[in-house]
Structure formats: structure tokens, C-alpha cells
Subunit: 413 residues, 2 copies
Amino acid sequence: MRTIVQKFGGTSVGSIERIQHVANTVIRAYEEGMSIVTVVSAMGHHTDELVDLAKQINPDANKREMDMLLSTGEQVSISLLAMAIQAKGYKAISLTGWQAGVQTESIHSNARINHIDTTRIQQFLNEDYIVIVAGFQGISSENEITTLGRGGSDTTAVALAAALKAERCDIYTDVTGVYTTDPRMVKAASKLSYVSYDEMLELAALGAGVLHPRAVEFAKNYQIKLQVRSSQIDEIGTFIGEDIEMEQQTVVRGIAFESDITRMTLNGLFNRVDLLPSIFTLLAREGIDVDIIIHSVTSDNLVNLSFSINSVSMIHAIKLLEDNKEQLGYVSIDVEGELAKVSIVGSGMVSNPGVAAKMFQYLGEQGITIKMVSTSEIKVSTVISKTDLEKAVHALHSSFELDSISKLQVVEK
Amino acid sequence: MRTIVQKFGGTSVGSIERIQHVANTVIRAYEEGMSIVTVVSAMGHHTDELVDLAKQINPDANKREMDMLLSTGEQVSISLLAMAIQAKGYKAISLTGWQAGVQTESIHSNARINHIDTTRIQQFLNEDYIVIVAGFQGISSENEITTLGRGGSDTTAVALAAALKAERCDIYTDVTGVYTTDPRMVKAASKLSYVSYDEMLELAALGAGVLHPRAVEFAKNYQIKLQVRSSQIDEIGTFIGEDIEMEQQTVVRGIAFESDITRMTLNGLFNRVDLLPSIFTLLAREGIDVDIIIHSVTSDNLVNLSFSINSVSMIHAIKLLEDNKEQLGYVSIDVEGELAKVSIVGSGMVSNPGVAAKMFQYLGEQGITIKMVSTSEIKVSTVISKTDLEKAVHALHSSFELDSISKLQVVEK
């Protein structure tokens, strides 16, 4: 029997009407003769309401109790979805994380999945049930309810697809697929019919919430084919899998961007073995994500160190660095806020050496100054002034000929 | 270590403020040096809200999925109560029904507890945790979440007290104890310091929700001492245990009553072996509870059969009986609605033969006609006109000298 795992996020099951709609979508796939396992998140704002209740009682609530509380959210949505499917005359059964055999680390609020014991799911699939599984949650070896943290339901879905050797994992979301860039900024943005795992990881920043990077990595490791598609409109979405030759002709697949970047530069550092670890461990421990790092050493063994962070962490980072000035041994800090990052992404780049140069040229033609550069095999990122962002994205999207991408590319089935 | 099981109902944990108040009550008992296991219900109207959601999706929702849905209610309240206790600096841990080892029959929405595996609770008690257990829910041998139906949380508490060999089970509720009659009707009603299990069973009708009969029976079977007390006011409540000699001096302990009774009489029945089973199985199968049954056979082997039901079931019962007229073989049905039942309750009655006669006399003095009578070892019930109910309750409460009961009776510790 061919099995498909589907995942519906909180917005998709945010109301009774939407749950009914999801039930129809699930039944349509079932009627195509597939075995269906559907993973759902908590209803819309349900999780926020529970978090709010907890905060009123204990602003610094115990993580174990938070998992106990928050895991009720998915338990509500799985039972309602099962009822909705049953009301339409189909066999459905809901399973919590622990009932579905989702075994995790003994860590609360951010556990990783160790293993999925699919015995029970398989048994219900064999009896022709549509199986509804609570996303985001699992059980530890001590029989404690755990949650998987951000992107948890996506991860549950992909992990189930791997454990069940499913043909595909369909991620239903509020967009119709993965675009060449954010359609809200560039009207000419077009939906990609296919992207590789690596491209998806780099493009994730394009639409926050489309698909969590953790789930993409999981899918890549277990070679699970994904499809990102709309929960509202019934059309084929974007497929995600390994690189396929045919697609390589389009070198740049998408333009990703991020605003609210701050660049920090530490001056007068003396180069020593523990310099970088001590600085970046300090920031990581406080939850400050560092993105681009530029590190160069002058002839007199002094270091120029610049790095970019999200602007929301700016004040926090400055305070942290100042508090540790003596230990770190720098002379001064330069801070430049109001920056943005724009990236070109594409698996074909690795075999097309001139792509980065073209990017710099296109930006230069627009009079845009580049403040930082970072490259990877499938991505070139530049940090520019925030006021230049929109102009840069439009220019790159059009210059790399993404405006004209056919919406009817070859679709991997 | 002395263990006490406490139970707080939905009203007691109906808001953040009330949960904080419950946390203080729990901590007070803990500070007295007791091991504490606290059973809680779902927050106030939470269950109703969930039922409403389900009804919108499927008015005839699957019981298994209803259990999945409704069991989230207690899971929310146990985690919030644990957080509240932790916020006050005490060790607390919440456990769902399945985590607490509450093993039930494989029946949904109305399962009975088979066994409680207290290993995990005991482990946490040994580590000085206050253990918070979700009431009303358990797990079947197939690892399905089950619920215990009406009075479920009371039953969970009493069953835990039995399994843990607890010293006592305190039922916290919105009244300060068990009264000689409903204080809303009779101002002179007074709180009983002690009642026996059997009396409590008969008095249960006095205040619906004070303590579920099922829990009282459980307590009687396992000889668990109960205390019904207020969750709002810190005072000693009513203790419930086996009969004690001292209390027998007061023959009548309380006046129970119920309005909205309908009497139905079937005329012209021919007496045959399967007559009573066929009539009452018919009613029971449709969920119609029959209370008093009066059955007499005349010399020519004809039967006069009267029984009382709650008036809400009247239409339903008439239709049912008419639909089966031929099979049952009666000639006509008489129906009298707008009736009420008033009962005197007391363990001492069995050794005081004149009590029933006194009751009839007191009612007769008020000009009240008795329509039906039913007696048990510790209760005499009469069915009268609904318009006579208030007069009857007052007369009996005063004639049996309950108005003057001392509020300072001997308290069983």
C-alpha cells in the first residue's frame, strides 16, 4: 500500500470551518487509494492562549509542565479532525504523540525524535483507517510528555514519513509553494515546481513558516520527498528532493532576503587561539544568533572581526561584549544597524564560477554598496543598506531571469 | 508517611485566582507533614466549551474521540496547578491518568477503574513532591485514553486513596459539608459533622455534585474515610465513614427531595413471568431511569403497575410504551406529572420501626396526600404533589428535630 504523510499547520485547523476543509482534503487523498497519515498542529491561537494562562501563574514556568500544558493543543485538534472525517462517513482515528510511538530525548520544550515505533499506526492503516497524529509532541523513555520545539509538527511529519517509508510527505501551508522570492515584494515572483533540499534550506528565509529547516534536514538525511502546497487552494505545490540534472540549467533559483540586520565590528583584537570561540560562545549562550562572520588577520597579527546579527539582539549583544571587554581584549566596537541581507540561491552555482561576480555587478549597477559578503556552494549573500533592499531584490530577480520563469516546469512525480 | 488524597472540582480551579487559592490549600496540608496527592477536574466551563466544539463538527461524535478531546481539560488544569505550586517554592509534578497508572476497562466515556499502578506516584511522593493527578481519566489495556463519566474525578480520588492506603480522602467542593437538607430551601438546615456511607448515598440527592454516589460506594467498599469540605472557606467539613454508635441516637439524619417527578400507571396488565423485565428493560435501554416501582397482583391475576420517572423523560416514556402496547399487553396508561419526592434518611431507622408511620402522620397533619411510598433500610420516600414539596420538607425537618441539631457534634478524626 502506498502511504502519504500529510501535515497541516495551526492556521489550517484554526476554526471549525477550516477543520472541515482539511477533512475534505484528507478524504480526497484517501479516495485516490493512498494510505493516509495526517499530522496536525494545535488550532490557530490555542497555543498562545495556553502560554498566556501559564504566564499568569508562573512567568518562568517549569518546562516539563509547559510540555504537559501545550501538548493538549494538538490533542484537541487531532480529535476534532478525526470527528470531522468520521462525520463524512470515513474511518479515522486520532493518536497522541505517545500513542503514535514518537519516542524522543528526555528533554523538555525542545526534544529531538530518537525513534518512531510505528506498530500501532501500521495496524490502523492495515484496517483502512485514516490515522491522525498529534504533531510537535512525543514521549521520553521515562514516559514523560515532551515537545519538539519550533518546527516540531513539520519534523513529526517528516520523521513519520521516514519511519513508514512513505511515498511522500505533503506539507500543507498558507502559501501555494516555494517562490523565486517573496511575492509580496516582487509581483513577478513565480512558484518553483521543484527545489533541492539544500536550496530549500537556503530559501527557508523566504517565507518564514513555510517549512522548518530542521524538517528539511531530516528529509534530506532520510531522502523523503516533500511537497509544499496550499491547504486552501487545490493545486500542485513545490516538490523538494535531491538535485535533478534538468533543473541545473537555471543557475539562480531564488532570491532570499532578510531585513533588520546589524553589523558589529570589534577593533584592535590581538589574534590568539581562543579568540573566536570565546566571543561566539559568549553570544550563543545568550541565544544571539550570529550569521555572517568576517575575520581577517593583518601582518602584525591584529584581527579585524565583523559579524552580523538580527537587529533585535543589538542592545543585548553590545551590553554582553562591553561586560566582557577586558577578557576579550578589544579596543572598540563599531555598530552599524539598519542593514539587510540579500542572497541568491541555486544548486547550479557551484559549477558556474561567475555567478557571484554577476551579483556584485547587478547591485553595483543600481548604485548599491555591499557591506559584507558571504558565500557557500549554493548561495551568495550580501549585506547592504536596508533602504536598498527592495531595489536589490527586484534587480536581482529580474537580472537572473527569474521574472520570466515558466510556471510549467517539469514536475517530479 | 501519612498520605492524604485531595480532590478539587472544576469550579475550584475555574480561574487563575482560584488555582492560586487551591495551591495555597494544598501547600497548607503539605506543611502539616502529610504526603499529598491532589486530584483535579477540568477548569470550570472548559469541558462544556470542548463539547460545544465537538458538537459543531459532529453532533453524534465517536466516544473514543470525545475521550481524546475531553481528557485535555484535566491535563490543562493539572499543569497549571503544578506551576502555581512551583511558583510558591514547592516541589510539584503533574501526572495524566495514564501516567498516574489509572487503568480502566476498555470502554469509552464511562469506564470503570480496574486497577491503579501507584509505582510512579509513590516514587514522586518518596522524593517529597506534591503529586497532581488528572481526575476523570485513565488508560485501557489497549493504551487508549478513557474517561470515567459522571463523578469521575471523585472516583479517581477515592480509588487513589484506596490504592495508596491513604489516611483520608478530602473532597473540596463549593459547599462546606453535608446538610440535614438543602439550606437554600430550609434556613434551619445544619451541617452534619458525620454521616455513614449509606446515609451519604441516600443524601446524595440533597446537593447534586457534592459527592458522586459512585465514589461513595467505592469508598464504602474499600473503607476509605472521606471528608466533604469547602474549597473557599477553611473549616472542617462533614466526615463520611462507617456507622458509629454514637450517631444512631438521631434516627433521621436528613431530608432529601427531588422535584419534577412523574407517575405512570399501566392498567389491565395480565401477570406473566416476563412482564416486569420486558417493561423495564425497554425503558432502561432508552436511558429512562425508573425510581419507585409499585406492583401488586389482584385475585384474578391482573397487575396494577405504577412507577415514577423524572418528568423530563415523560414524553419519551409515553411514546415508548405506546409503540410497544401490543407486545406489553396493557389496556391504558395513566400519567400524573407535577409530582415531587421527599425522603427521610438515617441509618438508625432500621432499629426504629415507627419512623415511617411518623413521617406519614407529619405529612397528614399538613394535609398532604401521599401518592406513592417506597422504603429501604435507611430511607423512606414518599411521592407527593409538587406544590406540597416545600411545606413537606419544612414540616419533616422540624418534626424530626433537625432544626435544632447542634453544629458541634462529635467529629471522627
